[in-house]
Symmetry: C2
Subunit: 245 residues, 2 copies
């Protein structure tokens, strides 16, 4: 079968492959811990090894793929340590983004977001299962923080991983109502321009999601006590010539 799907929103094959491979892993086409070779993927997608190489490099950059110099790439196992690490980063980034949004959003944007949140809540709670959920509070809020770097790290790297983890550990729709309430509280803090409170609420909100995912991961059969993903480009402190003050 040819898993190649044309996505014209990506101008280069490498970009498209990144999404395709991500989708392939997401759909369970590749199991966690499986080894993915460049030549194999190249044949499977009907392209050369060049673009595949770029896509894998980017997967490696996300931390989804473990790779040593000449060894073949393995997609990372998701143990508790990796999830913890992922959420540490997420708390840091989204907490800050939330505080920034409290400072930088104008009243009109807040009102609009509030209305959209309420609309989505009614729709989702109307038919609780199978919600399309294309309204994403977090992504929208991050956009309003107007920090390209944080947006890129979150939306481009962390969230695809999170979707993967949630997929593997199973979703929990019963938390949806609580999540809406927490989102509303965060937005209210932003409306009152209380950046510290907004950040604190967001951090707590994400901590709940972490605990949620943790318990789901414990109950999941795919959780395995395997060494976590080794991230690239994390030089030891002593190996760097100088650092910022």
């Amino acid at each position: 079968m040819d898993g190649r799907e044309d996505d014209d929103s990506a101008r280069s094959l490498g970009e498209a492959l990144f999404r395709d491979i991500l989708a392939l892993i997401h759909s369970g086409g590749i199991a966690p811990g499986a080894t993915l070779g460049e030549a194999t993927l190249a044949r499977q997608f009907g392209v050369s090894r060049g673009p595949v190489r770029e896509a894998i490099r980017r997967l490696q950059g996300i931390g989804l793929v473990t790779r040593e110099p000449f060894a073949r790439a393995r997609i990372a196992l998701l143990d508790r340590t990796a999830v913890d690490d992922l959420f540490d980063m997420r708390v840091a980034l989204e907490g800050r983004a939330c505080a920034l949004a409290a400072t930088r959003m104008d009243d009109h944007a807040i009102t609009t977001l509030l209305a959209a949140l309420e609309r989505a809540r009614r729709r989702d709670l109307g038919d609780p299962d199978v919600p399309p959920d294309d309204f994403d509070f977090h992504l929208l809020l991050i956009d309003h923080a107007r920090s390209p770097r944080i947006s890129a790290a979150l939306g481009g790297d962390l969230y695809p991983l999170l979707r993967l983890y949630r997929r593997w550990s199973g979703a929990r729709p019963e938390r949806k109502g609580v999540a809406y309430q927490e989102h509303w509280q965060i937005l209210r803090a932003i409306r009152s321009r209380d950046a510290d409170l907004a950040r604190s609420l967001m951090e707590q909100h994400i901590e709940k999601a972490r605990a949620n995912l943790m318990t789901a991961l414990d109950a999941s059969p795919t959780s395995q006590p395997v060494p976590a993903a080794r991230l690239p480009a994390a030089p030891a402190a002593s190996s760097l010539p100088a650092g910022p003050a």
Copy 2:
């Protein structure tokens, strides 16, 4: 001249080229805003275009390079907006790392770090100029946070950029004494296991560094009002299928 320098710590040419090009920019061999073509660099370093391509892709991942689908890569200009964005990310990451360190460091590590800090202070203040400064408080502290992802983002991506900005805007050795004092306060908060205080202190510390760099950038002749680096892989909120709750 052949700028190629063998760095056997990198197993692949792409990795070595990443550092070499970074060093080349750092040393002023390439001016900000200059266009760097793959073929040119390949000839200059005596390798093929493949590794150069990988290195540029990684430079682009850091946000040091702007690139559109078929256009040639430009090294990003450093205007106020870019610095602001960089420091927003840094505050988020290092603040969290500091809080984590306050939780995860054991007493022995704290004592050791404290002693090393004092030792470095005496040495640096002994001869104020031309300090080797291979003791880096921030890097060490981040290591102690034991979060691979945050360490990678900070040590692998943000710090090289920061060094660049500092280089271009000029260092300010007179702040060194103050910095030591702030470092000491942060460590004291960690020793008393006050994660919130430690994070707050670290955030303030970094904010000072941001202000410092800003004024230096304003006075610097290289600061230019040019569109900042467009970061890769920051999809708009509406273009993503679903996000985390």
